[in-house]
């Protein structure tokens, strides 16, 4: 179906089902119970799952397939956001103008940056992309203030032109009248409450399309070519193939994904700020991809969901919650445990994510997906013929970077 083989079709269908059922799956605990704080089924968070999922899927096409580590992808995210907000200001709140344009502008931007950066590989490539992203960030903050509105961030004001604005049009982002921030159904079933949000489903459909596209890229001859670049670029050159057009294409595609994600961020909340372009934001998408599983289909999405979920949960926990949890311990021990745990929760979430990141890079270079496979492998020890140690005929996967 759709140009996929049976296994991939099944995979895609599972992903579609999971995505569409997210509002239910992420709401496993009844309202009012003490576990309700672990629910993640509210619109704002689910939207971020879908959007950062798109961002990470795109990043994976570059880093996962070709092995080029870009530290500047946040710049494209920012460009996408700015484009969409500008379309709000000039035309109207319908996202149909902004999103395609966001993909185009970020694609052009990526073409420019990629054309220059891809002349080098390895660490030089990382530093070049980093330099470009920092440049865009600095410019967005200073000279480009007329376009980006500097520190305040770009937003829509009442005196903006908005030439296509109809009389009865909603005053917030919408897709032909479907207002993003509204819920089309809030279902109360027993003690559970499920929220079905327009914005989430809009992003989810786009995310599914993005996922399908990346699945096709992974399975295509083009994807195979990108893998070849990662495995051994020198050998590829010796066979008479020029790798650069392929890497550039991958770079532009992943830049477009990032622009789309940025545009969607602005579609959910009509704001765009320069801090989206900062290099720590680029670091975040690297983190998501690595954490989930580099070069795998599902990994980046898992990583994005994982990071955004725990960011949300951890930020909510404070000292009182901790005391409540560890109240059963003897006093002195409770104090000690709470004191330690406090480092990692609340605003300490970044510390947790940094540690997690280090642990994954050190112990689990394949990310959550590899971890899952290892766990699964433990349970079916019997079929050991699958992982024969025979590098001559079944080469091990190479380390994930083109040096």
């Amino acid at each position: 179906m759709l140009g996929l083989n049976k296994k991939d079709t099944r995979f895609l269908l599972i992903v579609i089902a999971l995505t569409l059922l997210t509002p239910i799956i992420l709401q496993p605990f009844p309202e009012g119970s003490s576990l309700a704080q672990f629910n993640a089924g509210y619109p704002d968070l689910m939207q971020r799952f879908a959007i950062f999922g798109i961002f990470a899927i795109g990043f994976n096409i570059l880093f996962g397939l070709t092995g080029y580590l870009s530290f500047g992808h946040a710049a494209f995210l920012g460009v996408g956001s700015y484009t969409v907000v500008w379309m709000y200001k000039l035309l109207d709140y319908n996202v149909i103008w902004g999103l395609p344009l966001a993909i185009i502008t970020s694609g052009l931007f990526a073409l420019l940056i990629g054309f220059v950066s891809l002349r080098r590989s390895g660490i030089y490539f990382s530093i070049l992309t980093l330099a470009f992203a920092q440049m865009s960030y600095n410019l967005a903050y200073s000279v480009l203030t007329p376009i980006t509105n500097g520190e305040t961030g770009l937003q829509v004001y009442t005196d903006d032109v908005q030439i296509l604005m109809g009389a009865n049009e909603p005053q917030s982002p919408h897709f032909f009248g479907i207002v993003m921030r509204e819920n089309f159904w809030v279902a109360d079933i027993g003690a559970w409450e499920f929220t079905f949000n327009n914005g989430y489903y809009f992003s989810a459909v786009i995310a599914i399309l993005a996922f399908y596209l990346s699945l096709r890229i992974f399975r295509s001859p083009f994807g195979l070519m990108l893998r070849a670049i990662k495995t051994n670029q020198t050998r590829l050159n010796y066979t008479g193939l020029n790798a650069r057009p392929y890497t550039l294409a991958a770079f532009v595609i992943s830049g477009m994904y990032a622009g789309l994600a940025g545009g969607l961020l602005a579609a959910m909340d009509p704001l765009a700020g320069a801090e989206r372009m900062q290099w720590t934001a680029s670091g975040e998408v690297v983190l998501m991809t690595i954490l989930g599983g580099l070069g795998t289909m599902m990994g980046p999405v898992l990583g994005a969901g994982f990071i955004k979920y725990f960011e949300n949960i951890f930020s909510k926990i404070n000292e009182q919650v901790l005391r409540q949890w560890f109240g059963f311990l003897p006093d002195g021990l409770e104090g000690a445990v709470v004191w330690v745990a406090e480092y990692f929760v609340g605003s300490g979430w970044h510390l947790t994510s940094g540690l997690l990141f280090m642990l994954v890079v050190i112990f689990l270079p394949g990310g959550l997906v590899e971890g899952g496979q290892k766990l699964a492998g433990l349970f079916k020890r019997g079929k050991s013929d699958e992982d024969i140690d025979d590098p001559e005929h079944q080469p091990k996967q190479s380390p994930h970077v083109a040096e």
């Binding site: 390895g122 530093i127 980093l130 970044h350 510390l351």
Partner: protein, 343 residues
């Protein structure tokens, strides 16, 4: 003419910081072949060594002074630092005043220790892994260190003053025959530049004139052969890592009075110092120092008003532009050796 002189002077202190951090980065890259994204965090830890020492020295106890009263009529509580009660008020006050220079001594063992722990505990396991993995794990470490500092010291910049003797500015212009108040330069920045020059000279002298330095240089050129000659090169490289950490830390300690330390100063400097390393040439120590000063001065030239009015925003991006131009035309950098990391 006076404006140019002023900009050169202004560029020197930032350039010194770039040069010192880039020197440490290059030492680590040249010896261990590791790309250390946590180097900016070491710079930051150095700056917070100065903060901690200042706080440590100003620890005080409260006494009630019955002869004086506060505005409510209660006896006034007077805070006396322990130092003042131990060494007498004048010596004590002087010690607190000089806490930043004293922090140099205080920070060296700390930074060496941090460096050793980092190398032995983490980086050691990444020699054989690809550069991207090294970047990623040290990036994670940088985040962790930065967040720990944020947890302990808060998110706001902490003012850490230079000694009273170095406050105020020196009028360079008068010395060179210009009108007074044209070229003024804060004393502490002169101190910083001098300090950086001493450190750079010390590192080069250490590498050039000691047996230890000779072995390290040999190891940088051909690690395997040195190992085959029966020299424990790993141990020496570990020491060099500690040394590089100490250089970054000292740069941070002395920078504290120039720019109040905050938890993200490391990240801010890191990107720029990587750019400096690349411009100077990966693995070239003189290149790192030269490029550090050069880019520092270039940056302050670019922030001159008439240049900014000609090309708006140039002060924000000049360093990156230079780096991009260098990488594209001469990838080994200004003074990089041929064939080292050229692709």
């Amino acid at each position: 003419m006076d404006a140019i002189l002023l900009q050169i002077l202004n560029g020197l202190d930032k350039g010194s910081a770039y040069a010192l951090i880039a020197l440490g980065l290059t030492l680590i890259f040249g010896t261990l072949g590791v790309v250390n994204f946590a180097h900016g965090a070491l710079f930051m830890i150095g700056a917070f060594c100065a903060v901690s020492l200042q706080r440590l020295l100003s620890l005080s106890f409260e006494t009630v002074d019955p002869t004086r009263t506060d505005f409510l009529g209660n006896p006034l509580k007077v805070k006396t630092p322990y130092i003042e009660s131990w060494f007498g008020p004048e010596t004590g006050a002087a010690i607190i005043d000089w806490s930043v220079p004293l922090a140099i001594l205080f920070s060296i063992p700390i930074m060496l220790l941090v460096g050793f722990i980092m190398e032995r505990g983490l980086i050691k396991h990444f020699y054989k892994r690809p550069h991207a993995d090294q970047i990623l794990v040290t990036f994670g470490l940088a985040i962790v260190l930065q967040e720990l500092v944020k947890h302990w010291f808060g998110a706001n910049p902490i003012q850490t003053g230079a000694p009273e003797a170095f406050k105020g500015s020196f009028d360079f212009g008068v010395l060179l025959g210009f009108d007074p108040n044209l070229i003024i330069y804060p004393y502490w920045r002169m101190v910083y530049f001098g300090f950086a020059a001493v450190i750079v000279a010390a590192v080069f002298a250490f590498l050039q004139f000691t047996t230890f330095g000779m072995v390290v240089r040999a190891g940088m050129a051909d690690r395997e052969t040195v190992g085959l000659l029966g020299i424990n090169i790993d141990k020496r490289f570990t020491i060099m890592f500690g040394l590089a950490a100490a250089v970054a830390g000292l740069a941070g300690v002395m920078y504290a009075p120039i720019n109040s330390p905050n938890y993200h100063m490391g990240m801010d400097f890191l990107v720029l110092s990587f750019v400096v390393v690349v411009v100077g040439g990966m693995g070239s120590l003189p290149g790192a120092v030269l490029a550090g000063f050069m880019l520092g001065i270039l940056e302050s030239f670019a922030s001159m008003n008439w240049i900014k009015s000609m090309i708006p925003g140039i002060d924000q991006i000049i360093i990156y532009l230079v780096a991009i131009a260098i990488l594209l035309t001469r990838p080994r950098g200004l003074m990089g050796r041929k064939g080292v990391m050229e692709d």
